[in-house]
Symmetry: C2
Subunit: 251 residues, 2 copies
Amino acid sequence: MATKHDQIAGSLVSDIITGRYRVGERLPSERDLSERFTAHRGAAREAMKKLEQLGLADVKPGGARVRDRSEASLDIIGHLLREGELPDPELVDQILLVISGLITIAARQLVQTQSLPGDHRVLTLLQSLYQDDLDRETHSLLRLELMQALLTGSQNLPLQLIAKTLFNQLAPSVVPYMHDQTEPDRLAYNQCARELELALLQTDPNAVQAALERFHELNRTTFREAFNRHSQTAGDTTQTLNTKSKGAHLP
Amino acid sequence: MATKHDQIAGSLVSDIITGRYRVGERLPSERDLSERFTAHRGAAREAMKKLEQLGLADVKPGGARVRDRSEASLDIIGHLLREGELPDPELVDQILLVISGLITIAARQLVQTQSLPGDHRVLTLLQSLYQDDLDRETHSLLRLELMQALLTGSQNLPLQLIAKTLFNQLAPSVVPYMHDQTEPDRLAYNQCARELELALLQTDPNAVQAALERFHELNRTTFREAFNRHSQTAGDTTQTLNTKSKGAHLP
DNA sequence: CGGACCATTGTGGTCAGACCAAGTCGAATG
DNA sequence: CATTCGACTTGGTCTGACCACAATGGTCCG
């Protein structure tokens, strides 16, 4: 069992995110909550603290009120993804779009600030991606490492922090569906790896961006396929949080 | 006077950010801190909570340890900017670069998902920017509103949250230097506003990006000038609380 | 009858002191 | 010398109380 304040916070976060409390509405008082959850007030207090930290509520003497979602912290993304039985595909797509964009920015900054040495991490990784004898998992990992390397190479701290935050929130909701993904299009990946390599060596930001755009499009479709396959088989799960039966008998 | 836990947290954050504690090193215990600041342990506890929330420390039974900066939350940016007597120009530049990139992503998504009606907020704002009889401040505000409108128009929640977070952290450290900025290059702005308008109406993502790139470059230089001017005249500010003397009287 | 004023009440904010479980670290032991 | 074990420290939680401030509703005055 989670701690008391985690229970309370989780319940409140869920209630707010799903819109059971309207924006501006008053939240229950700490004393109310502590009674309802048979906890001491400190627990309720910590829960409210968490809500405030997430930017979901505005807590001050006299009462706590619900904030607009657009005023929230980036950390609510994880909760939004976790809310339904399946992550909202549109939200996932938006996140992927942003991550792609961030990586592109990083890559552009990478080539614009310095001409990278031939043994730069990014180039090494790209060459590894050429190999034809990689299994799917290794290929996935290398792609991830490549993105990570581009971000690190940018030397742009805010950029790295944003990307890490986004990724950390996305990963837990998405990894379960990635295990048996379809075979990626190696040919396309190889081609686009070569493009990227060339663009990097020529320090041409626009070419880098173009190559990355293709790369991200590949990733996106690869992911979409795996995800869609799962969302089809999850059509009739009406349970809340336990005993997920994925009765899959499609034609 | 700030609250006790704010004092403690501020002190610790500053110490960590400036590197007075090395990564992995143990932080003082809550009981130590509460004694040193003549505060209740709860205050020290809340301070540690804040450190954990900022991702600066890893606090668990047995002791709290300093985390690597790359593991931190995006919210440390504000503290990093606030740390010196003047914000680190390089960091500011990185942030501006990221914000620019985010807005570009937003604009691309805006034109790719829907052809916008002629009376869309963004277009209205662009037309306002044409006018020649705007004073500097109005022009600034309109530019800000334009960026805001692009972000909102993207309908991309993660994107909006990130941009808002970044901007909110940057603003307080930067606004003081923006009041008497130099006159912006109206001609260039107007030209690039027209470009952007055309690109938006044609729903051409690449043209939108190109126009925005020019726009951001203008903003960046406008800002840089104002900022540089101040960093020159800030040689002899010896207030604050430690009377930092920075010699620096170059030709 | 309407509006300004004020005390009561409830709220979050803080404090004090205690106990518990988990981690730390050094001493005793094989 | 390596391992184990136990005392000690640390954060985590709980209890209960007091404080300052905001909200609320009633009262009083115009």
